[in-house]
């Protein structure tokens, strides 16, 4: 079992503080790193992968991450290397980079391509793959060698709904004897495949919660009202969305106080509640 402890992580780009004393503990399972653009999700991931310097400490099973020998599978936001290689050759290339012994490579590549459903495209050039297939290839290289920590940065960005569903099923099919950290700002993706959610805002971790815990945060606080009633004095956290029903404009509103006749909260409600409530505090 792996455990990653992040302690007082601080990262600055020039004078701008991008991560501010981030502290959290991750154990085996799938974590969704959720936050608006500029929250520091990618920077946190880059710090964990040791791609950038930082202040603070990251421990893996009690040892500093640099000395822990932990193997990391990483899918950055943009994944495109040596596009003239075929899918199979690309996987072989990553086997070499990950120093997977030669005799185990073929079996391991087959396993990974099977998980991401790219077996039929194994002889296709990486440069000719569609965006969705390329993302799947990126996931395949990330899970190659069964790493202890898999980091996927915005894996569903730019994918069509079908590919996004396929992505969730890939994650759900994966063995969970490792830590999987998925960064995204799409709540549905997190809901579909993550067990826990790390909510980030402005370089800080606001909370680490399970899906149910996150939903409960907004329990009895989600109401629907007509848009024209918006001036009524309800202490409102945020108007989540507006929609039309029978020609009348309605709002789905997240309130600060418990409301009678409230709607069933979703993960998105809970996320928005944590995000805006913490900001107000």
């Amino acid at each position: 079992m792996s455990q990653i402890e992040i302690k007082y992580l601080l990262k600055k780009y020039g004078k701008k503080e991008v991560l501010h004393n981030v502290c959290c503990t991750l154990k085996n399972g799938v974590y969704g790193l959720l936050g608006p653009n500029g929250a520091g999700k990618t920077t946190l991931m880059r710090c964990i992968t040791q791609l950038c310097s930082y202040q603070g400490e990251i421990f893996v099973n009690g040892k500093k991450i640099g000395k822990s020998g932990i193997q990391i599978g990483y899918l950055p936001q943009s994944f495109q290397v040596f596009r003239e290689l075929t899918v199979w050759e690309m996987m072989q290339y990553f086997c070499i980079l990950k120093k997977i012994p030669g005799k185990m490579r073929e079996e391991e590549i087959k396993r990974c391509l099977q998980i991401v459903n790219l077996e039929e495209q194994k002889n296709q050039r990486a440069g000719k793959l569609s965006g969705g297939m390329l993302r799947r290839l990126g996931i395949a290289q990330a899970i190659l060698g069964q790493p202890d920590l898999i980091i996927l940065d915005e894996p569903t960005a730019g994918l069509d709904p079908e590919e996004r569903l396929r992505f969730s099923s890939i994650i759900n099919r994966m063995e969970k004897d490792c830590i999987v950290l998925i960064s995204t700002h799409i709540v549905e993706d997190v809901e579909a495949c993550c067990e826990k959610i790390i909510v980030m805002k402005q370089g800080s971790v606001l909370d680490v919660l399970s899906l149910d815990e996150l939903r409960k945060k907004a329990e009895n606080k989600v109401v629907e009202r007509k848009a024209e009633e918006s001036s009524e004095s309800v202490e409102m956290v945020v108007v989540e969305k507006e929609y039309k029903k029978e020609g009348i404009l309605y709002q789905r509103v997240l309130t600060a106080e418990v409301q009678e006749g409230a709607l069933e909260p979703s993960v998105e409600d809970g996320y928005l509640y944590v995000l805006h409530q913490k900001r107000g505090e």
Binding site: Y74, L75, P76, Q80, M104, E108, G145, Q146
Partner: protein, 226 residues
């Protein structure tokens, strides 16, 4: 095999010797260049042969033309593979992913230099064999060709390696090399003396400049790591 032992097996500390690792990795990286991989072959063999033919028509001695063109084009192409492969590391979309794995750029660079040397060395053999048949050239001239081209290769390769990792932009070393090449050609036509000597100061300077370039590249690789 149990899950943990399978995991352990997948993480054999090495997949063979370091040389084997460098060879396998660079094999795929060279393959990943696609058709661009063949450009040095086209220039070193196709273009030089074409130039010899053109000069043969206008009655220039082919051996002199051969020597001249080898000294011009082979060093120029020495940094081609290195720049294109390292482009993926400094400018490519997957550079973050590649940076995750510990790799020695200097070892990769030396490997690519050796591979490149093996691709143009047959031209020296050809020169020697041709010269021996024609009784016009002897071993000394072949050694001169070997040394002159090798030294210039070190110069171009080293300078482009240094500039690439100092600036982290592929266009800068390309432009630098092109401008230097054009300038040196102009100087050559003025002085007409540059090529034939073996260990004249200019050769030594070229060699040292190349080594300094490699040194700058290695230093900036360490220094620029955030």
């Amino acid at each position: 095999m149990g899950e943990s032992s399978l995991k352990k097996g997948l993480r054999g500390s090495t997949s063979g010797s370091s040389l084997e690792y460098i060879f396998e990795k660079n094999k795929f990286e060279l393959k990943g260049l696609g058709v661009l991989f063949f450009v040095p072959f086209f220039v070193n063999y196709g273009l030089i042969a074409f130039m010899m033919y053109v000069n043969y028509i206008v009655d220039n001695p082919p051996e002199a033309v051969f020597f001249d063109k080898c000294c011009c084009y082979i060093p120029l192409m020495s940094c081609w593979w290195m720049l294109l492969i390292f482009r993926e590391y400094v400018e490519g979309e997957g550079r973050e992913l590649l940076a995750l794995y510990e790799q020695s750029k200097i070892k990769d660079a030396i490997f690519l230099f050796v591979v490149y040397f093996l691709t143009w060395f047959p031209l020296v053999i050809f020169y020697f064999v041709y010269g021996a048949q024609e009784n016009a050239l002897i071993l000394d001239a072949s050694v001169q060709l070997l040394v002159a081209v090798f030294v210039r290769c070190v110069f171009y390769f080293g300078i482009s390696f240094g500039v690439l990792f100092l600036t982290r932009k592929i266009m800068v070393p390309f432009l630098f090399i092109m401008i230097y090449y054009l300038a040196s050609q102009s100087i050559y036509h003025v002085s007409n003396q540059l090529i034939m000597a073996i260990l004249r100061p200019d050769n030594l300077q070229s060699f040292l400049s190349g080594c300094i370039g490699i040194g700058i590249g290695v230093t900036s690789l360490r220094w620029k790591k955030e």
